[in-house]
Structures are given as C-alpha cells and as structure tokens.
C-alpha cells in the first residue's frame, strides 16, 4: 500500500517533469499580476471600473476552489498588484517587474488607452496575452499587427460617434428632435479623438452642428459652455466628456435649464455615482457604453459585484473588464499556463462571458455596446454594433 503510493507519486513526478506545460501541485497557485492607477489623474476611474473587478474575479475563482485545470486539479489564484500612479513609465516598469522579478503566470491588462499602449511592447516581448478592456482606439488593425498578443474589447472611436449619429437620427425620424446638434468636447486625448471622428460622421448623417467648442481638462466652471450651447438653440446636446466634467456639465445643464430631447455625455454617464448624484432627473440621458441588463449572467454579475466589493458596477466598462478576466480564466482552464497556447486559444475560441458570447476576430471584439440610456433608474444599452437586447431609445423628458 505504502509502496504503491510512493510509486504513484514518483510516476506523477516524472509525468510532471516530462510535460512541457509543467503541471504542479494543486496547492500551487497561479500568479496573476495587475498594474493600474490607484493614484493620479486616472485613479478615480480605475477605482470604479478596474480594481473592483479584479478583486471580484480573484475572490470568485478562489471561492470556487481555484481554476479547474485540464488535468482536473484545482489551482488557486494569487494576485500581485501594483500602483502605476497614472504614469506610463511606472506602468512599463511594473509590467517588467511582474514578468521578470515576480515571474507571474499572467498579467491583467492595465487601465486606459494610454497606459495600455505604453505597456503593449512589454506584454508582447514576454508573450503575455493583454486583454485591453479599457482601451478605445481607431488604430486596432495597426496595433494588433504590431502586438500579436493584444486584444481589444471596448470598441473604436468611430463606432462610438457613428452610433450617436444613428441614435439621433432615429429620434429625428420619429419626429422627436430636429437636426440641430450642439457638440462640446474635453481637450484631452479621448475627447479630441471622439470629436474629430464625430464631425464628418454627423455631417454625412444630415445633422447640423450648430455649436462646436472644446474646453480644457480641469475647467472648474463649465457654465459658459452650457450657456453657449443653449444659446445656439439645439435639438440635441452631445458632450465628449471625462468623469469630473460629465458631472459638472450635467449639473450645469440642469441649472441652466438646457432642455433638449436628446442629451448625451460620454465617460462616467454609466457610473452608479451619476445616478447617485442626480437621481430621477437623469431619465432619458444618453451616454457612452450600456449593457444588456436582462440576461441572467448580467444580473448575477451585478449582484455579486455589489456583494463582494460593496460597490455597484458601472454599466459600461465594468462588465467588459470582468468579461476580459473570464476570457483569461477559460483560456487557462482549457490549455494551461503556457502563455503562447493561451494567446492562440484566445484568438480562436468562443467564450461564454457576462457580456454574452465573445469571439475575437483579428484580436478584437466587433460586437460591443456604444450608446446607453438611463431608463427608470437603470442604464440600458440602446445602440451597439450588432448585439442583441437593445432597448428602444426614448426622448429625454424635462429635468
């Protein structure tokens, strides 16, 4: 009996040594690294969208007993996290540190477009799959060609601008609004890109841009912008804005009585804090993102997010970030910890995620939510690039 166990053990050891994937004991955890801002300009967004989902995912996997590997063993996840202080130089250093010092098995992609692209060469160098869930860029083809292990899931700037034009035209066709659009943007990377993409698209869609102004990041009083937009007498208001200014513009619009039937603000409209601040008055507000709230997966996710992290998830990038982690989870469970195999698997397989079925085409997800709308206290997706479950758009009632 004793001898037989010993033999078995020896055989297992020999097998483990022989297998290229390097199976280890069930108790041996899989090391996962994570780098994102905890401080600096992007920390506020990361604290809502990024970190809680990393926390939730690690909690759930370990509660389940760990990742179920192909050989039937269970491996728990050990998280190593770093703060990059919203500084791309720090992001690069931290990813290098995770790869060569901590020797982690996988790394959760950083937060935001700039930090993800700064880290992309390092991910590519060591062959880590980088599921960049919080990057929105129009350079997807070029970037995926350069970095064979990067994946994009959140969409492109052009698609976001396109969808806004479509939503506005839908309301126009229903006779709810005219074609006059007031457009403002924050003069920072994403805001400039979106405004630049939107100008020709709105024009082709037959929308007339009657007010088009930018404002600097960190402006402390946005009332001149809102006054200017109101004076242009628009039918629709579109702001390509960042979190602090999304809050400020909305508050100012309410005070100034900017009454339009279509009201759009970009990033942070999908934050629960937006509802927390403005309550019922945001009914009918349009914003970037959106989700299909009716699937059981989404319902379970939102409940678990609240329970484990104590906070509500946002209705845009939060579930996408979580879905990115699910992709990583399923790929590891399918092929093990060999990074090359995992990357190849992600490129080919179909994943069952909280966002529905995900299949990467040319390393990016082509069906994503683009416009959402607050309806009865929930932020529903109303426009997407081919996803099911979109709610019909409503005109915004008065404040």
């Amino acid at each position: 009996m004793y001898r037989r166990t010993a033999l078995k053990l020896a055989a297992a050891a020999a097998l483990a040594g022989a297998l290229p994937l390097g199976f280890t004991h069930a108790a041996d955890p899989i090391k996962i690294g994570a780098v994102a801002p905890k401080t600096g300009p992007l920390a506020g967004g990361a604290a809502i969208t990024h970190w809680p989902n990393v926390q939730l995912w690690v909690h759930q996997v370990n509660e389940r007993g760990g990742l179920r590997m192909r050989d039937g063993s269970r491996r728990k996840v050990e998280l190593i996290e770093y703060d990059d202080r919203t500084n791309p130089g720090e992001t690069i250093k931290a990813v290098e540190r995770l790869a060569t010092q901590d020797k982690v098995d996988f790394i959760v992609a950083p937060y935001g477009t700039g930090l993800n692209l700064a880290a992309a060469p390092v991910f590519a160098k060591y062959g880590y799959p980088q599921i960049a869930c919080t990057s929105v860029t129009d350079k997807v083809p070029e970037l995926t060609k350069r970095y064979p292990s990067i994946f994009f899931t959140l969409g492109t700037t052009t698609a976001f601008a396109n969808s806004v034009a479509e939503v506005l035209n839908k309301l126009r066709a229903e006779g709810k609004i005219g074609n006059r659009v007031a457009m403002v943007n924050v003069a920072d990377a994403f805001g400039i890109e979106l405004a630049e993409a939107a100008r020709p698209i709105f024009k082709t869609a037959g929308l007339e841009i009657v007010y088009d102004r930018s404002y600097p990041l960190g402006t402390q009083d946005l009332s001149p912008i809102v006054k200017g937009a109101r004076a242009a007498n628009p039918d629709a208001f579109v702001a390509w804005s960042y979190p602090p200014d999304t809050f400020a513009i909305t508050e100012q619009s309410k005070i100034e009585g900017l009454n339009v039937k279509a009201y759009y603000t970009a990033v942070a409209t999908a934050f629960p804090a937006y509802r927390g601040k403005f309550g019922k008055s945001i009914e009918g507000h349009l914003g970037a993102g959106g989700v299909n709230l009716d699937t059981p997966e989404m319902k379970a996710y939102l409940a678990a997010h609240k329970k484990v992290t104590g906070k509500d998830a946002d209705y845009w990038a939060s579930p996408v970030t979580y879905a990115g982690l699910q992709v990583l989870e399923q790929a590891i469970e399918a092929v093990g910890t060999d990074r090359k195999a995992v990357t190849e698997y992600i490129k080919k397989a179909t994943f069952k995620t909280v966002m529905g079925h995900w299949k990467f085409v040319n390393q990016s997800i082509h069906e994503f939510w683009t416009v959402g709308q607050w309806q009865n206290g929930l932020f529903h997706g109303v426009s997407s690039t081919g996803l099911p479950g979109a709610k019909p758009v409503i005109a915004k009632p008065g404040w």
């Binding site: 801002p37 905890k38 401080t39 600096g40 300009p41 920390a43 506020g44 967004g45 990361a46 604290a47 809502i48 970190w51 403002v184 003069a187 102004r213 930018s214 404002y215 600097p216 960190g218 402006t219 402390q220 009083d221 009332s223 001149p224 912008i225 006054k227 200017g228 979190p243 602090p244 809050f247 400020a248 508050e251 100012q252 309410k254 005070i255 100034e256 009585g257 942070a268 934050f271 804090a273 927390g276 601040k277 403005f278 309550g279 906070k311």
Partner: protein, 288 residues
C-alpha cells in the same frame, strides 16, 4: 451681465482655494504644496457627512475646521519648525519647505486613499437654479460666493482690527523685525499656518457641493492657489482675493466671448503678464 456674475462666482471659488495659502505662505513663509490635499480632505468630510449622516455638508465644518486647524498646527509645530530653525535665509527655507510639503502631499494622498478609497466622490446639494437679474445661476455657487465673502470679511477684520492680526501683518512684512518688537514669531507663525489650513479645509467643504473630486486631485488646487497667491502679491489677503476675481472674470469672458478651449490658457497668460509687468504681484511690496 451674465459674464460678470458668472465670473464673480468663479472668482469667489478661486478665492476659497487661495485664501488659506496666502496665510501659510505670506505670513508663515511656508510654500505649502500639500495645501490642495487639505482642501480635498475638507471636501471628503463634507461628502461623508452628507452621504453617511444624511446631514447638510456644511455641518461638517463643525468638525473639519477645528480638526484642520489642529492638524496644521501640529504639522507646523513638529515638521516645519525644525526647517524654519535650520534655514539660514529665506531662499533656503523656500527650498526646504517645497521639498518637505511635497512629501507631505504624498503622505496625505496615501492616507486619504486608505480611508476613503480612490473613487470619485460627488453629490448633489443646492444644485438648483437661483435667479439673479432674470438669469439662472447655481445656488451652490452663490452660497460658495457668500461663504467666500464671509471668510474674507472675517479675515480682513481679524487682520486689521485685532492685536493678533497686527502681529500677523508685522510678521508678513518682516519676521526678524517682528521678533524685535516682542511678537512671539514661532507662535504667530504656527497660528497663521494652522489658520490657513482651517480656511482651506472650509473652502473644500464648500467646493465639494459642486466639484467632483477624488483622493489625488489635490495638486490641481495647489497649483491654482499658488498662481493666485503669487499673482496677488505675497502676504496680502486682499491681493489674493483681487487676483482670484480677475482670474474668474477673465476665464469667464474668454470662455463666453472667444473660445472655452482657451480659458485656462488665458488665465495663465494673464498671470504671466502680471508677473512680467509687476513681478511683486498686484498688491505685493517690492523686495529690497
């Protein structure tokens, strides 16, 4: 008219940001780079009182203002006094205080991060239209303006109408000479630094009713405050208030009449022009 009122309201906001630093830098000679963090801490207090206690954010002032006073007094007493003592001249103190308060700002951000987390905090309070001459303005900004007027009035009275105020003004002019006329320089410096911290925190409470903040946003306010204080002239509360109003009016005028994209550019341009034409600031005394 709209521009005038909006500009004044913004200027009042700026004066709330800058008044505390004038006291700290002008009188106590500490270029406090952690000033913005104190403002954010005050704002956190108001946010917590509003969301967790369901009370008016202004109620937070009862705890926050004395708390900030005590904290800043301790900071001055135990962290900055040694620097003042070892500094051979004003230049050295400036360098040392830049270095030390830069470190403190990191510590404060770290503490706030631990206590409150890194997310945005924002709430709605008095976000209603308030009619002035037929145009709607945000009530919370109007209230902020009133608070700014009240605080600056109190400071003005305190500085010009009391013995302590006279001592502080003497200190602002010349610490060495102040010592000669029996002014307890260390004590007065500590008092003025602590008072500056308390005013800043009070400003944070008011600002939190209409600005969205997070734990690491303090540096934005520090920069604005530095520029206003230098533009107004070091050591003069009036200067800071006038500079704040000028900036507020200029930014609003540029945003309404030219292009909102150039508001901050215009503010910095104005600041630079003032410095070039009057290096000692609007109300400053020429240094010999």
């Amino acid at each position: 008219m709209d521009i005038l009122i909006t500009g004044i309201l913004l200027g009042a906001t700026y004066s709330l940001i800058a008044m505390g630093l004038t006291l700290q830098y002008g009188v106590a000679r500490i270029m406090n780079l952690a000033n913005g963090e104190m403002l954010v801490a005050g704002a956190f207090g108001a946010f917590w009182v509003f969301t967790a206690q369901q009370a008016s954010p202004f109620a937070a002032a009862l705890v926050v203002v004395p708390g900030a006073f005590a904290l800043n007094w301790l900071i001055y007493r135990y962290l900055l006094r040694p620097l003042v003592r070892r500094a051979k001249n004003r230049g050295m103190l400036e360098v040392d205080s830049i270095l030390a308060t830069f470190g403190m700002s990191f510590v404060l951000v770290g503490i706030m991060l631990m206590v409150f987390g890194g997310g945005y905090f924002t709430y709605s309070y008095l976000a209603e239209p308030f009619e002035i001459f037929g145009s709607p303005f945000a009530l919370n900004r109007v209230v902020a303006c009133l608070v700014a007027v009240a605080i600056s009035g109190l400071l003005y009275w305190g500085l010009n109408g009391t013995r302590t105020g006279m001592a502080l003004r003497a200190l602002a002019v010349d610490p060495a000479a102040a010592g000669l006329v029996a002014i307890d320089v260390p004590r007065m410096s500590a008092f003025s630094f602590a008072l500056g911290g308390a005013v800043t925190a009070a400003g944070g409470i008011v600002l939190s009713t209409f600005l969205t903040m997070d734990a690491s946003i303090g540096v934005v306010f520090t920069m604005k405050a530095l520029i206003i204080v230098i533009m107004g002239g070091v050591g003069d509360v009036r200067g800071a208030i006038v500079a704040a109003l000028i900036l507020g009016l200029a930014e609003t005028a540029v945003a309404s009449l030219i292009d909102p994209g150039l508001t901050l550019a215009a503010a910095y341009l104005l600041f630079i022009l003032v410095l070039l034409l009057r290096p000692e600031g609007l109300f400053g005394r020429r240094q010999s």
